[in-house]
């Protein structure tokens, strides 16, 4: 039983990571129908910048967190003003399916390249926000950073869900994703919502990277993998439901841990991704998409 509970705790921790990035992707996709493939890179910026500010510049930990998070938000704001504003508000450049992936893919490359040039290829981890030994709960143990990850994921998912469902601002944001023209006709500034949510999810991702980095460490290359898993979690929430993305992420994490614990430590991810692949192909309605007739 303790083995099961330990696996569950580990699975929920990694699932929280998948879930929060899935939620960040889903909420922004809902607003502007674009996948934020740079969300993992914002987490990387937050984690590595905090670690460097503390280690190399001797700044207080909390000040480093603020600087790193504000820095990530600033990068997102500048990118929106310089690229997304022209692409989506002024109608310049590539549109259609290319725009769904490639603007943020370009940003991801740029952030990854800049991180490599500035910080090198080492592994970095920010200091633990809640330091100390693993917490004993009944007969299993949970890392303190893991508790923060799970808690932050659930709280973020709930807040994003509530924002979209119960606030006028959230409904206006959703309307932008349904129809940019329609939302503009009724006086909604779609560009403003796109920018606010992009900056907000960048800040959230950076904060999450700081919380999570003591567990796994970050390199300049960590971003794309995180983003990819976030895309999977968001995909299983129809790309539009951040609350469900967190739940899906948690489920994926638990399934991964259980497969690793009870089936194969080497092939757990292979099995997991194969199952997810099968669901996408044979039950695409789970993603809110219909299959082509056979």
């Amino acid at each position: 039983m303790s083995n099961f509970l330990n696996l569950l705790a580990a699975g929920l921790t990694s699932g929280g990571i998948y879930g929060i990035f899935g939620a960040c992707l889903a909420v922004w996709f809902r607003v502007c129908n674009v996948l934020n493939l740079a969300v993992g890179d914002f987490a990387m910026i937050g984690a590595i910048a905090t670690a460097k500010l503390v280690q190399d510049f001797g700044l207080p930990f909390w000040l480093s967190i603020v600087i790193a998070v504000v820095g990530a938000g600033l990068v997102a704001w500048v990118f929106d003003r310089v690229v997304l504003h022209f692409a989506f508000d002024r109608g310049v450049g590539a549109h259609g399916i290319v725009s769904v992936f490639f603007y943020t893919f370009g940003l991801s490359l740029l952030l990854e390249g800049t991180a490599r040039a500035v910080w090198g290829t080492d592994v970095f981890g920010a200091p633990a926000i809640w330091s100390g030994p693993a917490l004993p709960i009944a007969d299993f143990h949970v890392q303190r950073a893991g508790v923060l990850v799970i808690g932050l994921a659930i709280i973020s998912g709930l807040l994003l869900w509530a924002y979209l469902r119960f606030t006028v601002s959230g409904r206006a944001a959703s309307a932008c994703g349904e129809s940019v023209l329609g939302s503009r006709i009724v006086g909604i500034n779609s560009g403003l919502f796109r920018r606010r949510i992009f900056v907000g999810t960048a800040v959230l991702a950076a904060l999450f990277g700081i919380v999570e980095s003591p567990l796994s460490g970050f390199t300049f290359m960590s971003g794309p993998t995180i983003s990819l898993i976030g895309v999977v979690a968001a995909g299983f929430s129809a790309f539009r439901k951040p609350g469900r993305a967190v739940l899906v992420g948690l489920a994926i994490g638990v399934a991964e841990a259980m497969l690793g614990g009870y089936v194969s430590t080497s092939y757990n991810d292979v099995l997991l991704y194969a199952v997810l692949f099968g669901i996408i192909i044979f039950r695409p309605e789970v993603l809110g998409l219909r299959a082509e007739p056979a």
Binding site: V83, F86, A87, V92, G93, A94, H95, G96, I97, V98, S99, V100, F101, F102, Y103, F105, G106, L107, S108, L109, L110, L111, E112, G113, T114, R116, A117, M221, P224, T225, L228, V231, V232, G235, F239, S266, Y267, D269, V270, L272, Y273, A274, L276, F277, I280, I281, P284, L287, L289, R290, A291, E292, A294
Partner: protein
């Protein structure tokens, strides 16, 4: 018009009623652009292949097996994959990100056949082509059912678990991969071997480019363009969406496998890194920066990007920044990539094929053939 009427058919004419009907179908108002004509005997693909083979042969021979020559041959391997991606992602806008996986099929297939079953290099290549065709046909029959984003998501997952499968499989050499892959042709010394193997790679690149150009310039190409603009439009015009999606997937995958085989034979080894997402990212850049619809663009782009990645440490260290900025500028300024910008600078029209599509669609409307499924009412019979 230099070709006889029977073999030189404006796509505006419904083929089933005979090419002569082409003249009776007026172009819709506003289509002043001279439409491309679909020809049974189109000289462009073959001439392109000849140019690629001669030019590539001269360059590789001049480099005489040097490190630069090896880099160019590696670039040629990526270029073969990129040429397939022009058809798949660029021209048909099929959002499949499985090319690195099929590169792995080609590379690992070659490595396994040669090192474990004593196949010769060319024999292994032929078997790998058949294997990739069968695998992609089976996989494509399943994955191409998935619409738009679901297809993208499914194929994004593929590299994740195939990479792990390769790294944990002792049969595939685990993390170290497979060493001792043979060059296509063995020469008297290392330099001669490198040059001759490179020439085989260039030959395959020329054939791949000719094949893709032939498809793009045929009626099938117009059907693919119609699908890429709007699937409902394509279906209404009689295009069999599933059939065309599957064909494009198979062609892209087989060319990716050939590229993987060339890469393995050039480097003499297969590493699991060929399967991971960074390879896919590199391939996407090789297509989108030079121009996703330009065969010449992606060939040059693949070789240049491969060169930059292995050139001076300053460039290779900062390649991500360069690629990111280049991609963003391309997306904002010229979505058709560097090739599109060059076309614009040279004053070349880039909308002939769109004009052909409009003319063909108008003809379909006029003859009341909309909605017939199964092959585009003869548009693919060029």
């Amino acid at each position: 018009m230099t070709e006889p009427a029977a073999t030189d058919r404006a796509i505006g004419a419904p083929a089933a009623t005979g090419p002569a009907d082409a003249d009776r179908v007026p172009a819709p108002a506003g289509t002043a652009v001279q439409a491309h004509r679909v020809r049974r005997h189109d000289p462009v693909p073959l001439s392109s292949a000849v140019v690629i083979i001669i030019l590539g042969g001269v360059v590789l021979t001049a480099m005489n097996g040097s490190y630069l020559g090896l880099t160019v041959t590696t670039g040629v391997a990526y270029a073969v994959v990129a040429v397939g991606m022009v058809l798949q992602l660029g021209y048909s806008r099929q959002l499949a990100f499985s090319q690195s996986v099929f590169m792995g099929v080609g590379a690992y297939g070659t490595g396994v056949l040669e090192t474990k079953y004593n196949f010769g290099a060319i024999e292994a290549l032929l078997v790998v082509i058949v294997l990739a065709a069968v695998v992609s046909l089976i996989m494509g029959a399943v994955v191409t059912r998935a619409p738009g984003l679901a297809l993208a998501l499914a194929t994004l997952l593929l590299p994740l678990f195939i990479y792990q499968l390769a790294t944990f499989s002792g049969y595939l050499g685990s993390f170290s991969g497979i060493n001792g892959v043979l060059p296509f042709v063995t020469g008297d010394d290392y330099e001669a071997t490198t040059v001759r193997s490179g020439l085989i790679g260039v030959l395959l690149l020329g054939l791949a480019a000719a094949f893709v150009l032939r498809v793009m310039r045929s009626g099938i190409g117009l059907q693919l363009m119609a699908m890429s603009e709007d699937e409902q439009l394509g279906e209404a015009l009689g295009v069999s969406l599933r059939q065309r999606r599957l064909e494009v997937f198979v062609v892209g995958s087989v060319l990716a496998a050939i590229g993987g085989a060339i890469l393995a034979s050039t480097q003499g080894l297969v590493s699991p890194t060929i399967l991971n997402e960074s390879t896919q990212i590199t391939l996407l850049l090789m297509v989108y920066v030079p121009g996703r619809k330009s065969i010449a663009g992606v060939i040059i782009g693949a070789i240049v990007i491969e060169y930059l990645a292995t050139s001076t440490s300053f460039i290779s260290t900062n390649l991500g920044i360069i690629e990111g900025i280049a991609l963003l500028i391309i997306l904002l300024v010229e979505p058709d990539g560097v090739a599109g910008a060059v076309d614009r600078l040279l004053g070349r029209r880039t909308d002939q094929w769109a004009a052909s599509l409009r003319t063909w669609g108008a003809a379909q409307l006029k003859t009341g053939r909309l909605g017939t499924r199964g092959g585009g009412n003869g548009a693919g019979n060029a």
